[in-house]
């Protein structure tokens, strides 16, 4: 748990910097010595077999998991320093979950306005205006007053994206955003993500959506057994992977 306070700060043009990240769950090393740098506006796709540590690494970026070793920064702010203001950092890092995790007791609008009103002390009128703008953007304005259990999976995930965007984050983390969706709903979510990528949002996405990767990703990271095996452009990774492990994995999913 002890953090080294004398680590040199990352370069100022990095948005996300991960250095030698290691996460242990008991005797299991979920992430082993992973390092990754993401520039502003970059879209990074993380792929790998289940249990390879992709989600754990992603969840470490807003400290939903505490690293056992190593450091993570958002810009120049340390995430892993125990005395850093993690709430400030979480405001700037939006997260979208596999199972949406919309607040079941709140309407769609209330889901989106909760954090801006609670954390940023935004007035209700401003928060609702902003929520409507975001709902229009994800194409769900007519669902503003319904509850999450009345929405399809794809609609719920689009609301979840709008909810994260309401905090005006610098970085968006997507943890398998389409894995829990029926096939016909995957596209509506990916379309929203593609738009975001085009607008220059910095994104880290754990997903196996090849189409999205080729269309939007600047980098693809392949992880296996907790290690980052290979980093490259989508073409590098998918068309001419250099590592045997990558090749083997791609054969399974293609």
């Amino acid at each position: 748990m002890a953090k080294n306070n004398n680590q040199p700060l990352p370069p100022t043009d990095n948005r996300v910097t991960i250095r030698n990240a290691t996460k242990r769950f008991g005797s299991l090393e979920a992430v082993k010595n992973a390092s990754l740098e993401v520039k502003p506006g970059e879209v990074v796709l993380i792929i790998g077999p289940s249990g390879s540590g992709k989600s754990t690494l992603l969840r470490s970026i807003n400290r939903l998991e505490n690293l056992s070793k190593g450091d993570i920064w958002i810009d120049q702010d340390s995430v892993t320093e125990q005395d850093s203001d993690i709430r400030k950092i979480r405001e700037e890092v939006g997260m979208v979950f596999q199972n949406f995790h919309l607040f079941q007791h709140l309407s769609v609008t209330e889901n989106i306005t909760l954090a801006p009103m609670t954390v940023k002390k935004m007035s209700k009128a401003d928060a609702v205006t902003e929520a409507n703008r975001l709902l229009k953007r994800v194409g769900l304005l007519e669902k503003a007053d319904v509850y999450p259990d009345q929405l399809s999976g794809g609609q719920q995930q689009r609301v979840a994206i709008a909810r994260a965007l309401a905090m005006n984050p610098k970085v968006m983390l997507f943890d398998e955003p389409t894995s829990a969706l029926d096939p016909e709903m995957v596209k509506e979510v990916l379309d929203v993500m593609l738009d975001l990528a085009k607008e220059g949002m910095t994104m880290l996405v754990v997903s196996h959506e090849m189409g999205f990767a080729r269309a939007a990703a600047d980098k693809v990271v392949f992880m296996d057994e907790g290690q980052i095996v290979e980093i490259g452009t989508p073409e590098d990774i998918f068309d001419r992977p250099s590592s045997e492990r990558t090749k083997k994995f791609l054969q399974h999913i293609l």
């Binding site: 709430r87 979480r90 405001e91 979950f97 007791h105 909760l114 954090a115 009345q150 905090m167």
Partner: protein, 275 residues
């Protein structure tokens, strides 16, 4: 008994047009409660008790009407003890439940020890303890002792209900709230507790009914509740059978009334948000 049977029988639909009907599966595992039926268990019990309570004084006014005139004060006291205790015990239960899931070891341990100790001591013993054993220092009047003992005792049970309710809200809800920048406290207040309350309202209603019945124990502390009034009456007249029959019927009516109320609340919870 014959009445009850006709209530639960579950006749299969007759095959249409004499065609062969293929039964898939062997019917419902748990039969419908048949609440809508006039002969539902609740209706039989409630209206049976009610009509006895009306018929007895009419047919035999000598002891029964006098008893019914004598005990209403006790009903009020029973209500007073139950309602006050439930309010206190819900508050105690909320903090105990939060304590039980606290990450601060001291608070967690404190809440857990409270629950374990109180649950392990019979309510009657707790009543004696607060009124007689601690009476020397506290000097609490009987009513206050009764409410204190009931609140502390049921606070422990409520604590477990709150803990279970808090833990039954999926962990993802909490993580989503944290990821948006809410503090733990804000996440619990704005996201977890509102969902907890929907889950725990029915069990709290059941505790209320249990409490209504257990409040009869306070009659040993010279609190003139329903049971005590009946004892006072019968100790003078020696009409034990008549007095306690009426008391049993009144308790039954009260608990049936509240159990129906809880049932209705439960149904409203089920349909909320699905307009």
């Amino acid at each position: 008994m014959a009445l009850l049977k006709s209530d639960t029988k579950n006749e299969p639909a007759s095959p249409r047009g004499g065609k062969v009907k293929i039964d898939v599966g062997d019917g419902q595992l748990i039969p419908d409660r048949a609440d809508g039926s006039i002969l539902s268990a609740w209706n039989i019990a409630f209206f049976g008790a009610l009509s006895l309570l009306v018929i007895l004084p009419v047919v035999k006014p000598d002891p029964y009407l006098r008893i019914i005139r004598f005990i209403p004060d006790g009903v009020l006291v029973t209500f007073q003890v139950t309602v006050t205790s439930i309010l206190f015990s819900v508050v105690i239960g909320l903090f105990t439940g939060l304590g039980r899931i606290s990450r601060i070891a001291f608070i967690n341990r404190l809440a857990t020890v409270y629950v374990e100790v109180i649950r392990g001591i019979p309510l009657l013993v707790q009543l004696f303890y607060i009124y007689f054993a601690l009476g020397g220092f506290l000097q609490l009047p009987p009513m206050a002792s009764a409410i204190t003992a009931m609140s502390i005792c049921y606070g422990a049970y409520m604590g477990e209900i709150f803990r279970a309710g808090l833990q039954s809200v999926p962990r993802g809800q909490f993580e989503a709230a944290l990821a948006l920048g809410l503090s733990r406290r804000q996440a619990i207040r704005k996201v977890i507790l509102p969902q907890t309350i929907r889950i725990i309202l029915p069990p709290i209603g059941n505790e209320f009914i249990a409490m209504l019945k257990d409040s009869s124990l306070v009659s040993i502390l010279a609190v003139s509740d329903l049971l005590r009034r009946a004892r006072e009456y019968s100790s003078v007249t020696f009409q034990y059978f008549e007095a306690f029959t009426i008391v049993a019927l009144v308790y039954l009516l009260l608990t049936l009334f509240f159990s129906r109320l809880v049932g209705m609340l439960e149904e409203r919870m089920d349909t909320r948000g699905k307009k």
